[in-house]
Amino acid sequence: MTQITPALIAEHGLSEDEYARILAMLGRPPSLTELGVFSVMWSEHCSYKSSKRWLKLLPTKAPWVLCGPGENAGVIDIGDGQAIIFKMESHNHPSFIEPYQGAATGVGGILRDVFTMGARPIANLNALRFGAADHPKTRHLLAGVVAGIGGYGNCVGVPTVGGECGFDAGYNTNILVNAMTVGLADAGRIFYSAAAGPGSPIVYVGSKTGRDGIHGATMASAEFSEEAEAKRPTVQIGDPFTEKLLIEACLELMATDAIVAIQDMGAAGLTSSSFEMAAKGKVGIALDLDRVPTRETGMTAYEIMLSESQERMLMVLKPEREALARAIFEKWDLDFAVIGTITDGDRYVARYQGSVVIDLPVAPLASAAPEYDRPQAPLPAPAVIPAAAIAPAHDPLAALQQLMGSPDLASRRWIWEQYDHMVMADTVQRPGGDAAVVRVHGTAKGVALACDCTPRYCEAEPVTGGRQAVAETWRNLTAVGARPLAITNCLNFGNPEKPEIMAQFAGCLTGMRDACEALAFPVVSGNVSLYNETNGVAIPPTPTIGGVGLIEDLAHTASLALKAAGQALILIGGQEGPGWLGQSLYARQIAGLNDGAPPPVDLAHERRSGDFVRALIQEGRVATCHDIADGGLLVAVAEMALAGNMGLSLTLEGIAEANRHAWLFGEDQGRYVIACPATEAAAVIALSQRAGVAACVIGRTGGSELTLEGLGAISLAGLRDVHEGWMPGLMAAPATEA
């Protein structure tokens, strides 16, 4: 029996208070293996102890939500007996240490969370945040992460269709890798993780267990210091080929009635999956660790329980179906081992090499993890910086070129051409637009997918930032003609034990709640990643939102590319006033001003303007649409021009010279630009008036230049070179094997 010392307890990430709770629960000191179990089950990553109190704020219900947070992923009804299952997860800390494998295993883990519920994965997305472009580690991390996401996703055969990538010095020593998977399932055949049926076999399938990633969950719950480099051994290695086999074998088994419950083994491996299955089902478990397939010799019970070897699933089967299941897994050359049984009662007992190594009560451990209401410090309210206080652009077209070639706005083609975004032959809209659109195989429907967050807004004012992240995701789905249905999220923040970080967290969640309610856009799944700090310096608060919307008929969808010359460009949802430059890219990059309040988010206005735009698209009146986001109006129309390889001309009539920069570069929310035949423009304006939404013609499509009437023009070809050239230029040296 290993002596449990204070040092050992601390090494396991448990506080003195938490250890006291363990002693009280057991009435005795824990074994070393049991200590390991508590360590991972009560880690921030697995227990959400700092965040749970705030997550309860989020709306999680709607008539189309079949399963909200609490299962492996969220489930929404898309009609005709079909469901979409989706979730986003973070793999931040491992990706900083070993970018290829950290990112690859992040993709592997989120794929499993989705197919474990019975869905065939149909799309992957990811949201990435790296340090400043000129930081010495950025190129290496970017190359490694993108190679890892591609290496895993491409091999598994699921298209990676969209995402976000941002650069900011705030992520210099803490990058973010948030991976999202979307899957398609029959609404009547969803698989859950609650175990049942005393006497039923517990079956382990997939790769053998090794020593990978032991304590990955505790690493995710701790800040980095200089010793981060020395933590290399805790990064797991992924095998996407085995994952592909696992997907096919599991889906084949799921077509039968053999499965009672199924869960993937992710963070905290066998420990968390088995405890959660037992706790949800209110049953006990008896495990025989000698039966766990191992690929190393001499593994201890501790190592077997905590290993984070990838590509493994845990199932409870109907006893009479064991042979059928075994045959399927043998066909796919995957390990299949009965490692235990479900028992009556509430004990989790594990035996190894003749001894009992774990004997714990299920419910108290799984559900009585400490829950903290950590203190917050009030954050200073940022001053509103009026447009008049920001220097006007002497040459708006030059400012446009500078912005389009900047890290925030330059083309990400270098990234997404490394992802197979077409496999499965259902990708209707490829990366580069507002949202990816993937056809629901064999139907005329599509799902629209997007990831969004604007961290500088969240840092300036968390409540607004939280609202804006949800609102922008909603807008991006709307802009392709989809009805937004639900979101998943990855909440990436610093150390929650610091009151100012807790205030950021609570603020962002409050904003998210406001937007989710106003837009009928509930949260069905998500993930929290805390302690993203190094040497006490935290990342900007980054609540990444992953949204899913439904396109009922793909014949009526829209994309941002300009499609025909001589069309009218119409601004929808413009508001009174000179335009909001605070926290805009223009203010930060051109005027050098990083302070100020972010643009407010009027949720009722968002709803009105978005619903109106969606109706135009669904009625077939509009096929070209783009929402206005980073960079403002001029950047939005430039993106439309580049995507369609067609020029345009914007009128500045009625815009006072002093307000020109706010008009062109302001980041007021809730706005879209559409293009329609010139003969339709009057009808669209009339409809907008009836809908109570502002709309005005702002220009015309055509030609090979981007023209600001009365001010000048730039060639589209030149703008394209600037836009497409930045990232390849940054990454110029060929990628090498790490």
């Binding site: 040296a733 060929p734 990628a735 090498t736 094997e737």
Partner: protein, 81 residues
């Protein structure tokens, strides 16, 4: 038991972009005297065969049939034990 080490490399004249990339990176790190890098693969096989001649013949066949693509790769076999 015999352990066989098989080294599989690219034939001379076959372009090795990975090797070039590694050479480039070494130079960028300050290792000036590197005049060429060729990448290769290395396999370690543990064989039940105890007769060295038979073991070598078996590994030859493995190289010809699977371990090396003889269109572009050559191989070298070393036995120990």
């Amino acid at each position: 038991m015999i352990k066989a080490r098989v080294h599989v490399g690219l034939k001379a004249g076959v372009l090795d972009p990975a090797g070039k990339a590694v050479e480039h990176s070494l130079h960028a790190l300050g290792f000036a005297g590197v005049r060429g890098v060729r990448t290769a693969k290395s396999f370690e096989l543990v064989l039940e065969e105890t007769d060295a001649v038979k073991a070598r013949a078996a590994v030859e066949a493995m190289c010809q049939q699977l371990l090396a693509n003889t269109v572009i790769e050559t191989y070298r076999i070393d036995l120990e034990g």
